[in-house]
């Protein structure tokens, strides 16, 4: 510790949902002694809590906080996740898995997908997912953690599917255990410094004043501080991502098999999710209210449910987009208060986690010492992350041949952001991926969606044609056999959870 340690920065988190308790836990754990954390939440308001599927990054967050994976999985009835199965997106009847892993490997500096495209040209290619261990394991409903060496068994990652209504409370218990102070109450007034415009305190309905130096707005779509109080403009992306509602309805499991993946099935006005947890199946329909009514969506999800409903459908409303600035004055938006991208690629918790990570990286040195350069850097990083995820999500809608509904006709023919249009054109003309090393979704993810949704390039790398088609077919077949062998040696997903039951599972 610094000998002349300044007074801890008083952090006030507004909102006790997933983002709020993740933020409180992260700041309290990673900035001990430098920040005191209070969280204000109201049981009257409730939480959105549909973020049931995650990305592999969540593992790093949980580990960094020192949370035991077993305790966390048990408390949230979590299952393992190897990717997302997208059905009917490119064309009705077709499906593909976007895995947390690679397809084959680069040979001679040429990406595997070029060889696969060359094989496809000769009519000798199997599905590209056959060359991905994560895809093959997912399809077989098998799971084991990846190996730590650089063998084939290390070529995938995993995330969790958990009960989001239990994740928040789990994080709450953890955060309170490390000193986060919780205040139950509804905010009625936001006090600000007349000179700087900074927020100075939140006044609750019962008159309590919660003072702070730094306020984290995790109040969800209401965005009480960033949106309502500071009036930071909202950049609306509905024209690219028209889904603005979800009808959520949990069900029982319909079969004994427990999928180690999330399923996203395209629907006439959006898509529906199926997220297998240990004790139930998360189920819901993300839809565009401009194209169907809430009643129609509820009827549709009832009709599609494979298991027995555990509740009536619950409607959630959202707006895709983000605030022009996620950090304004001394208020930082985390989660839905700063932006929302629909859960098609399970990015909600990632985006909250990303903001928390950058906040800790750029945390003020002392109370009242926010440097505008740190604020600008935070906003630059957050914007980049949102923009990249946005383009990737739009791709799922735009790369389609579907013309069976108004919704699909709109997304198929809409003008996409220039940043995505360039990526698409580069792929279409040359089979290449625009590279970046920062942010989310790298080559394998883009390839999964392009190929999976039937968007094949006009040409591919000429070096892939230098290997005789038969030799190429034999080499890829060897890879496929190796993948098949690895999968055969894995236990079933449910068996793995049962085998680890004392550690991981209370209801498997």
């Amino acid at each position: 510790m610094n000998d002349s340690a300044p007074k801890p920065v008083r952090v006030v988190v507004l909102g006790g949902g997933t983002a709020g308790w993740m933020t409180a836990a992260g700041v309290a754990k990673l900035l001990p002694g430098l920040a005191s954390v209070q969280l204000v939440e109201s049981e009257e308001i409730g939480i959105v809590g549909v973020g049931e599927a995650t990305l592999p990054h969540i593992r790093g967050f949980v580990e960094k906080l020192g949370i035991d994976e077993a305790a966390f999985m048990k408390a949230t009835h979590a299952t393992f996740k190897l990717g997302i199965d997208f059905r009917d997106f490119g064309r009705i009847g077709e499906s593909y898995i976007h895995p947390f892993g690679s397809f084959g490997e680069e040979v001679g500096g040429v990406g595997f997908h070029h060889y696969w495209l060359e094989l496809a040209r000769h009519g000798k290619a199997r599905e590209i997912g056959d060359y991905s261990l994560a895809v093959a394991a997912a399809k077989a409903n098998r799971f084991r953690p990846p190996s730590a060496d650089d063998s084939l068994g290390s070529t995938y990652g995993y995330a969790y599917q958990f009960d989001a209504t239990l994740f928040g409370p789990f994080m709450r218990e953890f955060a309170r255990g490390i000193g986060v102070e919780r205040h139950e109450g509804r905010v009625v007034t936001v006090e600000r410094d007349p000179a700087s415009g900074d927020v100075t305190a939140l006044v609750l309905a019962d008159g309590r004043r919660i003072e702070g130096d730094l306020f984290i707005d995790c109040s969800g779509f209401r965005s009480i501080l960033l949106g309502q109080e500071l009036e930071v403009p909202w950049e609306d992306w509905t024209h690219w991502l028209p889904c603005d509602r979800a009808a959520a309805m949990p069900c029982t499991h319909a079969t004994e098999d427990l999928r180690p993946y999330t399923t996203a099935t395209a629907m006439p006005a959006g898509w529906r999710w199926q997220i297998p947890l240990q004790h139930r199946m998360g189920n819901g329909y993300v839809f565009s209210s401009a194209h169907i009514s809430e009643e129609q969506a509820c009827d549709a999800i009832r009709a599609c449910a494979e298991g027995a409903p555990l509740a009536e459908p619950r409607i959630l409303k959202f707006r895709p987009g983000r605030r022009a600035r996620s950090w304004s004055h001394n208020v930082i938006g985390v989660g839905l208060a700063s932006g929302f991208l629909e859960p098609l690629e399970s990015t909600s918790i990632y985006l909250a986690q990303m903001a928390i990570t950058y906040l800790i990286e750029l945390f003020p040195a002392a109370a009242g010492a926010i440097d505008p350069r740190d604020r600008d850097e935070f906003n630059r990083l957050v914007d980049m992350e949102y923009d990249r995820v946005r383009d990737f999500l739009i791709l799922h809608y735009h790369a389609t041949t579907r013309d069976d509904s108004e919704f699909w006709n709109h997304v198929r023919t809409m003008r996409v952001p220039d940043s995505l249009a360039d990526k698409l054109e580069l792929w279409r003309r040359a089979g290449r991926i625009e590279k970046y090393s920062d942010g989310l979704f790298y080559d394998a993810s883009w390839i999964a969606v392009y190929v999976g949704q039937g968007l094949l390039p006009e040409v591919h790398d000429p070096r892939a044609a230098m290997i005789a088609p038969d030799a190429l077919a034999r080499a890829t077949e060897r890879l496929r056999m190796a993948v098949t062998g690895e999968v055969a040696a894995m236990p079933g997903h449910r068996d793995y959870l049962r085998g680890e039951a004392a550690r991981l599972a209370d209801a498997a």
């Binding site: 510790m1 610094n2 340690a5 920065v9 990673l30 900035l31 001990p32 002694g33 430098l34 920040a35 001679g108 500096g109 800790i360 990286e361 750029l362 945390f363 003020p364 040195a365 440097d371 350069r373 740190d374 850097e377 360039d422 054109e425 580069l426 003309r429 040359a430 290449r432 625009e434 590279k435 970046y436 090393s437 920062d438 040409v459 790398d461 000429p462 070096r463 230098m466």
Partner: protein, 478 residues
């Protein structure tokens, strides 16, 4: 392939190996000394990987091209007289140790000899090293290194490899460029007295005059003069062999001096903001001037136009302040291999190459500009503009010890951290670092010390080891 220097020949090998069915012809000889990539006696660790991929054996470079190893570069004087520290390669330090070292740096601002911050430094200071056996666990496995060589011998090695691959060679000077009617492509280039050579792809490795690219009607040069102040370069001829694991980059009152140790002698280069009398330059070099070069820094706005792609000094001209020329050229070459087109090049493929290649060049410019941002450097070179995100990086470093990520930078985060320290900037400590668990830092320090002891025990004495590795062939010279 226009330009037969060490860059052009390696690029020819790369293309030939990538597309064995294509005919590759190298046109023209060794570019002049202003083509720094072609005369560089060293590169960075990226080149080792490229060599592996192209079948250029490290053992051959050691045995036949006067090869030797650099583990660290010592920078001196950039933060004032007596200030300096070393920069090693790699990004493998334990985060807790990184925080501990940053704390040391912050506390010991201005101290002359901070504790070693890498295994490479420990080894270099002890004079012990041999490259770790590839793919095998060893106490040296995490130590990254750069190779040095005698440029003419290295070029000869590459020429032999090129000949074995059937790469053709045409001696001569380009006297005209013939464009394809109606598009951006070049149909053929004329060689004085020898007629036309037609090709699908022209790679310009001809040095700073960019003999082909600059002749293209759409060529645009982006001037970097406002941010890179070196205008004159003086090179000394290497003399007596120097066996060392360390190279040096020093700021003097007249300019900067780089010293690259080699079995063919010490390669010394001086860079100044204004021309010096020969005697003054020789006094600073400590040796006779072999070449004096005037420099206007900048880059091609688009290094790939039509069917012409420029590499090395033909794409970007800048001072040889460290081994960035060949590193940039080789990274651009690897990008060309990654994006290797067939006969039909999609405009967006070129655009993507130019985007990433442009990021690489701007990254080099930013790393160089960091050298001239300190008050001490500005006393010598005058005030310069800080391009791109240099000001933001230095600000983040000074206040928080943070290195923001940047795509296609020639240095990894830890390398950039060490460079800024060596240039005299003091890292700040972020609140997270201040709050870090002291026990984790203590155990990280203990682990580092144990690793250092193991590395020192494992590594042989460098001089005798190098002599034995090179024994099959004496050091070339001339």
């Amino acid at each position: 392939m226009v330009g037969g220097g060490q860059l052009g020949v390696l690029a020819a090998i790369a293309l030939r190996r990538s597309l064995p069915g294509c005919e590759v012809i190298v046109i023209g000889g060794q570019p002049g000394p202003a083509s720094f990539a072609d005369w560089s006696p060293t590169a960075m660790p990226f080149t080792n990987k490229l060599h592996d991929r192209l079948g250029i054996a490290e053992a051959d470079i050691i045995a036949k091209a006067g090869g030797s190893y650099r583990l660290v570069t010592r920078l001196s004087g950039w933060g004032g007289a007596g200030q300096g520290s070393v920069v090693a390669y790699g990004d493998a330090l334990d985060p807790a140790l990184r925080t501990a070292l940053a704390r040391d740096r912050a506390r010991a601002a201005g101290a002359h000899a901070p504790a070693p911050a890498s295994l490479a430094q420990v080894l270099a200071e002890a004079g012990r090293f041999a490259p770790p056996p590839p793919g095998e666990p060893s106490p040296l496995a995490a130590v990254d290194y750069a190779l040095r060589w005698h440029p003419p011998a290295y070029r000869a090695l590459l020429i032999a490899a090129a000949q074995a691959l059937g790469i053709g060679y045409v001696e001569g000077v380009i006297d005209r460029i013939e464009l394809v009617d109606g598009d951006d492509n070049i149909a053929a280039i004329g060689i004085a007295g020898q007629g036309l050579i037609a090709a699908d792809l022209f790679v310009d490795c001809s040095g700073p005059q960019a003999a082909v690219l600059a002749g293209h009607p759409h060529f645009v040069f982006t001037d970097w003069s406002d941010s890179l102040p070196t205008r004159h370069i003086y090179c000394a001829a290497p003399a007596a062999p120097v066996i060392a694991l360390e190279d040096r980059v020093t700021l003097t009152s007249a300019g900067w001096v780089t010293e690259v140790a080699g079995r063919d002698g010490r390669h010394i280069t001086l860079g100044t903001p204004a021309a010096l009398p020969r005697a003054a330059a020789e006094a600073l070099l400590g040796a006779p001037v072999q070449a004096a070069i005037a420099l206007t820094p900048g880059c091609a706005a688009e290094p790939w136009i039509g069917n012409v792609v420029a590499l090395g000094d033909a794409a970007a001209r800048f001072e040889p302040l460290g081994p960035l020329h060949l590193d940039l050229a080789h990274r651009q070459l690897a990008l060309l291999l990654e994006m290797l087109p067939g006969r039909a090049m999609a405009p967006l493929e070129r655009a993507e190459y130019n985007r990433r290649s442009g990021l690489m060049m701007e990254g080099v410019r930013e790393v160089l500009a960091m050298h001239f941002a300190s008050p001490e450097a500005q006393r010598v070179f005058g005030s310069c503009a800080l391009p791109g995100r240099v000001a933001a990086v230095i600000d983040q470093f000074e206040r928080r010890g943070r290195i923001p990520f940047r795509e296609e930078l020639p240095l990894l985060g830890q390398e950039q951290f060490a460079l800024l320290v060596a240039l005299g900037w003091t890292p700040g400590l972020s609140p997270a670092a201040k709050a870090a668990d002291p026990a984790a830092e203590t155990s990280a320090r203990a682990a580092f010390e144990a690793n250092a002891r193991a590395a020192l025990a494992f590594a042989p004495s460098y001089g005798p080891w190098l002599a034995s590795a090179a024994a099959v062939s004496p050091a070339p010279s001339g």
